[in-house]
């Protein structure tokens, strides 16, 4: 961790980057930190409690500016970064990755190929919580599932924290804000809530890297991250494609390849 701080301070000092995005100690848990100088870089931490997906800040021009910036990245963050790259939102010349691997060694990545090679070593597994809820949902009938989600979504009051926390929700104008025509009714109500959540899920198919940030952000604890996660799990074997893993341009749903298995069609 000391090396991380030293390195962050060094690249800030020699002008390699103008900003390092990382974590610092918060009141109850770590919180994001934006370091513009060596002084603030001394507050950097990086441990297992740091789970915020910092990739969400990388597409915010007002935060990262036009210069080069560094980010201390977890595996989840790296997957999001890869997907952002696939979607043409990041470029190598603007980004520097700092991370600490399992052996505690500081690692630095410049190219997306390096990130991809590193991320590929880690399997995308369900956590205990995810496994527990998904097993329960998978055991339900269609009607039970629908009722389960209707009940869950009825708590939603459309704060859009899920959207804010998601690194892949980077549109300057979200579909909920499109009002000609008004596809999704803006108020929180059973149908309007479903309109939003179904739309969100559709927009995430083939893109969601299962970082879980949306679920973590939900103030009423709706496990919405599991919808997109499950869709990703269902899609991966059909298309041989896991978002955020190998460097592949395009999207499972927008591309057609001869080796797509497409066993669901028939």
């Amino acid at each position: 961790m000391e090396k991380l701080r030293e390195r962050a301070a060094a690249i800030l000092a020699d002008g390699t980057v103008s900003l390092v995005i990382g974590y610092e100690e918060g009141t109850k848990r770590p919180r994001p930190l934006f370091c513009h100088d060596g002084e603030s870089a001394r507050k950097l931490i990086f441990d297992s409690r740091c789970f915020h997906n910092l990739a969400v800040y990388l597409t915010k021009k007002e935060l990262v500016g036009n210069g080069r910036f560094a980010v201390t990245a977890t595996i989840s963050t790296l997957r999001s970064i890869m997907q952002l790259y696939v979607e043409n939102q990041l470029s190598e010349d603007k980004l520097l990755i700092l991370t600490v691997d399992l052996s505690g060694t500081l690692r630095e990545f410049v190219t997306f190929d390096e990130i991809s090679a590193y991320v590929e070593q880690f399997e995308l597994k369900r956590s205990e919580r995810e496994q527990a809820i998904l097993t329960r949902i998978e055991g339900m009938t269609r009607e039970e599932r629908w009722n389960f989600w209707q009940e869950e979504m009825s708590h939603c009051f459309k704060c859009y924290a899920c959207r804010s926390a998601c690194p892949l929700c980077y549109c300057t104008k979200c579909v909920v804000e499109v009002n000609r025509p008004q596809w999704i009714n803006p108020w929180p109500a059973p149908v309007a809530n479903m309109e939003w959540h179904i739309n969100r899920a559709m927009h995430m198919v083939g893109r969601c890297t299962a970082c879980g940030a949306c679920g973590d952000a939900c103030p009423v604890g709706i496990p919405i991250d599991l919808i997109t996660r499950k869709m990703m799990e269902d899609m991966a074997p059909e298309f041989g494609y896991i978002p955020g893993l190998p460097v592949k341009k395009g999207n499972a749903l927008s591309t057609w390849k001869l080796d797509d298995r497409e066993q669901f069609i028939r």
Binding site: N66, E87, Q89, C174, V178, P181, W183, N251, S254, T255
Partner: protein, 666 residues
């Protein structure tokens, strides 16, 4: 508020017989924003159009809905009428009250209500319509003809003679196609090659025709007037600019036992070969699959023989790019082999032939120099049986259609046989004799009456070999279903004409539609027989359906005229129904975030990257831009765009949403 004019057509009685058109006009007239609504017997007639023009002026209409037939039929008519009255033509829409309503429903209340709904949707849409300008695109006045058979030859010559450049590509080493394989042609019995080869030479020598043999289309991109064709020039392994065509290499080639494609498998050829003596170009290619050098790395006898050093061992396929404005598809057909018929021996009897093989036997340039001899032992067959409709008109075999040419060529075959073998006996088994065509019926009668061909109306159930004879078991339905058994020396099957191999893939490359049998589909069965559904791509000959030479030549000339008509324009006008990415005032510039999912989804490669730059040249954002020339308005990108930044002009999200909501908000 909108001032929409609504015009309901009776279409004679086509619509008014089942739909209460007066009620439709009355109820729509009461809709918000509708300034004028009438019904009339024939809206498309001159007085009908005058009603529209006058109403546009009188009520100062800002939108028109015509409830009539399919827009495919009369949308251009009504849009032109609006334009003549000073209203932007894209503010005129049609509700299809005929195909979508009156023709498919019984008379009744509900039918009328559906008609009202159909018009109502369009009224709501037109309220949201924007005036659009047609797109003008330039025309490349050069045609690509695919296939060098008689269809492609005729089309190429006709186009070239109008003064336009033609690129003719042929898959085989020589042009000529199936017609060059034929012996004589019905109904005049003139020698096929004698009438064809002058045309082939004309193609090769025409200053406006660029001929690529041994070449295939790799891809076709673009649109009418502006196609880019990538053509694969397969490696011939012989340098044509130095080769003199002396043929010494062919004589010396040690691989001599390759079944000759030109002789339909009845003769053999070498690995370095010219398909037939009159080939154009008359220069050899090396068949790399069978050549000793390519198979085992040794031989090169042809190289030693060649006095001008034309053999190019390491030559690779070359892909060239050509800009063309129109494409004529003339890829022809194929015939089913004898192996398709289990009841006729699965192709294992040597003396059961296809009609095409018989053509080669009867041809003076064929493997027997025009003598009819059995492939098995070389004997002259004394009894011969022709079986018409082998595969054709047989739904059980998956070929329910009539192959059209077989009745005539079977009569010709029998006639040729009788002319060559005077003591021979020929029998034709047929289902019906279809001899529609000038002098065709007379020709068949001649075969029966003068050349004493025995015509038996009935099917052949089985053919099997016994003591060197082929036992043909059939039935004579005109004799009350009596069994007929003939001990024949040779059996000729008039096998079904089928789509050429690779036609499906080619159709997909060109985005033209094809029928269930993989023949290319014409745009309209009667009125647009040479057009495809893809503008700028035309059809000639048997690639559309089996047809004989006169019909093929007529169709090829028809396609050529279509191409020439297209080339008579310096620019084309096309509908502005294309996708556009929205542009907004700074600092947003556009709601597009540049994820370019549209780019990977677009089947026409129409999405480009547009860089938005500040005054100092620094890059602000990269967003998507639609190439209006390439976009076909399919809307796939619209469905993929998460931020709804792309819209199809004329079918915007807002317009379609208004249509749908008009039905839901009752």
């Amino acid at each position: 508020m909108s001032k929409i004019g609504v015009f309901i057509c009776h279409c004679g009685e086509n619509i008014s017989a089942t739909v209460d058109v007066e009620r439709v006009a009355r109820e729509i007239g009461g809709m918000e924003g509708v300034a004028h609504a009438i019904d009339y017997k024939y809206m498309c007639s001159d007085p009908g159009q005058t009603f529209i023009k006058e109403a546009v002026k009188k009520y100062d209409l800002d939108g028109v809905v015509v409830g009539a037939c399919s827009p495919r039929m009369h949308e251009p008519t009504f849009r032109r009428a609006c334009a003549e009255a000073g209203l932007n033509p894209y503010l005129c829409e049609m509700a299809n009250l005929r195909e979508h309503c009156s023709w498919v429903h019984e008379k009744g209340e509900e039918t009328t209500e559906k008609a009202i709904d159909l018009v109502k949707m369009l009224v709501e849409k037109v309220k949201k319509n924007n005036p659009l300008e047609s797109i003008k695109v330039p025309v490349t006045k050069r045609a690509l003809v695919i296939g060098g058979g008689i269809a492609g030859i005729q089309a190429s010559l006709d186009i070239a003679n109008t003064g336009h450049k033609v690129i003719l590509i042929e898959r085989d080493p020589s042009i000529g196609g199936h017609m060059s394989q034929l012996s004589e042609t019905f109904p005049t019995l003139d020698c096929s090659q004698c009438i064809l080869t002058p045309r082939m030479v004309e193609v090769a020598q025409h200053p406006n025709i660029k001929l690529y043999t041994y070449a295939e289309l790799e891809s076709l991109e673009g649109f009418i007037g502006n196609f880019t064709a990538k053509i694969r020039l397969k490696a011939k392994s012989v340098n044509y600019s130095t080769c003199t065509g002396c043929g010494a290499c062919i004589q010396k080639c040690p691989v001599k036992k390759i079944p000759s494609e030109f002789n339909a498998g009845l003769g053999t050829r070498t690995a370095i070969y010219v398909p037939f003596p009159q080939a154009v170009p008359n220069k050899p290619v090396i068949d790399r699959v069978n050549c000793n050098y390519y198979k085992r790395g040794a031989c090169k006898i042809c190289e030693k023989t060649c006095q001008v050093g034309s053999i190019e061992w390491d030559k690779e396929d070359e892909i060239i790019s050509e800009e063309v404005g129109a494409v004529v598809l003339a890829t022809g057909f194929d015939v089913k082999g004898t192996d398709f018929f289990p009841e006729y021996g699965y192709g294992k009897y040597k003396d059961v032939l296809t009609g095409l093989q018989f053509e080669r036997l009867a041809s003076a340039s064929g493997p027997t120099f025009g003598e009819i001899r059995r492939p098995s032992d070389g004997a002259i067959p004394k009894k011969i049986v022709f079986i018409a409709c082998a595969g054709s008109r047989d739904p059980a075999k998956g070929i329910p259609y009539c192959s059209k040419i077989c009745c005539m060529y079977t009569a010709k075959h029998a006639m040729l046989y009788q002319h060559k073998v005077h003591d021979g006996e020929s029998t034709v088994f047929y289902m019906d004799i279809r001899a529609g065509g000038k002098n065709y019926e007379e020709f068949v009668r001649r075969a029966i009456e003068e050349d004493t061909v025995n015509y038996v109306r009935g099917r052949v159930a089985r053919v099997y070999e016994k003591n060197g004879k082929l036992i043909v078991k059939g039935v004579d339905t005109l004799l009350g279903g009596e069994q007929v058994e003939i001990e024949a020396d040779m059996v000729v099957l008039a096998t079904a004409g089928v789509a050429n191999c690779g036609s499906e893939q080619l159709a997909q490359k060109l985005h033209v539609s094809y029928d269930p049998y993989h023949f290319f589909a014409e745009a309209h069965p009667k009125l647009k027989p040479v057009e495809t559904n893809t503008a700028g791509i035309f059809l000639a000959g048997a690639c559309q359906a089996p047809k004989d030479i006169p019909e093929t030549v007529g169709m090829a000339s028809g396609a050529a005229v279509k191409v020439a008509a297209l080339f008579s324009n310096n620019e084309l006008v096309r509908e502005p129904i294309i996708a556009v990415v929205n542009r907004l005032a700074p600092p947003l510039y556009s709601t597009c975030v540049g994820c370019f999912m549209c780019e990977t989804a677009c089947p026409y490669n129409a999405i480009e990257h547009e860089e938005i730059k500040a005054r100092d040249g620094s890059l602000i954002r990269t967003i998507a831009r639609v190439n209006s020339g390439l976009c076909q308005g399919c809307g796939t990108c619209v469905a993929f765009c998460r931020s709804k930044s792309i819209d199809i002009q004329g079918y915007t999200n807002e317009q379609v949403y208004a249509e749908v909501m008009s039905l839901l908000n009752d």
